[in-house]
Structure formats: C-alpha cells, structure tokens
Symmetry: C2
DNA sequence: CCTTGCTTTAGATCCTGTCCAAGGTAGGGT
DNA sequence: ACCCTACCTTGGACAGGATCTAAAGCAAGG
C-alpha cells in the first residue's frame, strides 16, 4: 500500500502518520472492516488517532476510488481496499463474514432494456447471502 | 391487502387500527417507503399513531415475509409490499427513487462453485444504480 | 362483560456518521 | 535549517435512523 500513499502524495495529499496507519490497516485480501474496526486497529499503532480522522481518511480514500465502501443492511459500512478489480460479495447470514466473489455472467447485461424504465444504469452491486463453512456445523 | 390482515389474524395477530392503517399505506406497486414516510401517511388517517408502532409493525411484517426490507446505502431503509414475487431494484443515485426490476439471467447460477468458498448460498440481492429519467435533464 | 396478555405510546437511549472550532504540523519557500 | 500557512487532526457536540422501556390501553376468548 506504500505505492498508494506515494500516488496520493503526488496528487497533493499530505502524508501524515494517521493516514499512513489507516492505509496499513487496510492492507490485505478479503479485508472488509468497519470504520470503528479500522479505528481500533489503527489505535494500536497510534493511540491518539481520533475516530473523526479515520472517518475523514476513509471518506477520501473512497472518493479517490482507492477503497470501496460496502453497505451491509442496517449495520456499519465496511471498507474494502480491493477497489481496482471490480467484484461482488458473499456474506454469511450468521457471523457476518465476507468474501470477495466474481460472478461469471455480465450482470449489467442481465437487465434488459425493457426493465430499465428509462434509467441510465451505470453500476450493479450484488450480494450473495448464505452460511459460511465455519458456521455450517 | 385485507386478505393479508385476515391471514395474519388467523395466525394469532391481533387486529388493531394501527396495524390496519400501516397495511393500507403499504398497498400498491413500486411502493418503497421509509419508516418515517409510512408513519407520516398513516398519521393522516390515524393521527395518534406512534413511530414506535410503525417500526414494530414493519419489523413484524418483514419477519413474517409479507414485506421486504430494502437497505439503501447510508439512508433510511425502505419497505416494499411486493414480497411474494422475488425481484431486484433499480435505484436513482440522485433522487433515491426506486423501481422493481426482474433481470433475465439466473443470478444465483452466475456464481460458479469455485467462487462459493464453501458457503451454502441461498439468496442473491442485486441493486442497479443509475440516473432516473426525471433526474436525467 | 371481564380478564389477561398482547399492543401502543412517549421518551430515553443507542449506533453510525458528520460537523465544528481550536490547536497542530507537513512540506514548499527562503 | 527555519518559517509560514494552508491543510490536517482532535474531542466533543450534533443529527438521523432505529430500538428499548415501563406504563397505560385494548382485542378478543371465555
Ligand atoms: Mn470486497
Ligand atoms: Mn421492490
Ligand atoms: Zn459464518
Ligand atoms: Zn432520480
């Protein structure tokens, strides 16, 4: 994720300890943390970091397309660093764990013009729900 | 919707004026009201009805599978009486208006076994986002 | 009718997320 | 190396959505 920070710095983003730590926390595959989880992990490395800064940083990363914001029902949104290859989500109805998935079909094409009601459709979001192997017992 | 109320009464649901009014408000096609919108409309007919009762009634209707709960990003959930024929949603990014849609493909089948990560997938929810004709100007 | 257990109600409370004013600091300019 | 200043961070207030509570109300079976 250090190339991410470098990229953003070149675009005029000030490189602060807080932003560095948030970026570190968000590194990895199948990472889908809530803002408060990001805050808790960031605070291990930088105890004074505030919730407001975590929210600010996440909002900017989302706005710049570096992080994906995934809204899950009524609960807290989750933040996903895997923003460069589009994908969808598989969500466990019991424990809430989340995996990235890549369906085969062209889901946008699955919506025929007769079903578009004059909308200019630009994006499709898919959530598959089920029970994960750990919860299956 | 009166058969709905009858059905529920037979299952031990007490028939109150409040529940009757909420059911009436939720009648129709392409109805996707927020809880507060339901409350506002219900209050026209029954001024003393409380927000808590609207929330309680909606929760129960959802729990009994008579109404669908649709969560839209950070905003208030919407309640959809069209629960008996499964469908997906087309959502305007600007004004938030919502339409029911029925994609052609088998979206569950679009998730190949190699992408299931051992989950027992039971449900798929799709949200198409775009700009509605009214907002297109 | 009565009774009883389910319902309703207002208001408190919780959770997520945003806003604010005050103080701090990255990093370009010198 | 040191300033400056525009940008950043902070804690706490705030807001909207939704749930919870305890007291009062009422549907409906007996
Ligand atoms: Mn993801
Ligand atoms: Mn619908
Ligand atoms: Zn699970
Ligand atoms: Zn619109």
């Amino acid at each position: 994720m250090s190339d991410l920070l470098e990229r953003l710095r070149e675009r005029g983003w000030r490189l602060t300890a807080q932003r560095r730590v948030v970026a570190e926390v968000l590194d990895g595959d199948h990472v889908h943390l809530t803002a408060d989880e990001v805050h808790a992990r960031a605070a291990r490395r930088l105890p004074e970091i505030s919730r407001a800064t975590v929210y600010n940083t996440l909002r900017e990363l989302v706005h710049r397309g570096e992080v994906l914001e995934v809204s899950t029902d009524g609960r807290a949104k989750r933040y996903d660093p895997n923003a460069h290859r589009p994908h969808h989500h598989l969500l466990c109805s019991r424990c809430g764990s989340m995996r990235d998935v890549r369906p085969t079909g062209d889901l946008l094409a699955d919506l025929p013009p007769s079903q578009s009601f004059g909308f200019t459709v630009s994006e499709v979001e898919v959530t598959y729900r089920g029970v994960c192997p750990d919860c299956a017992g």
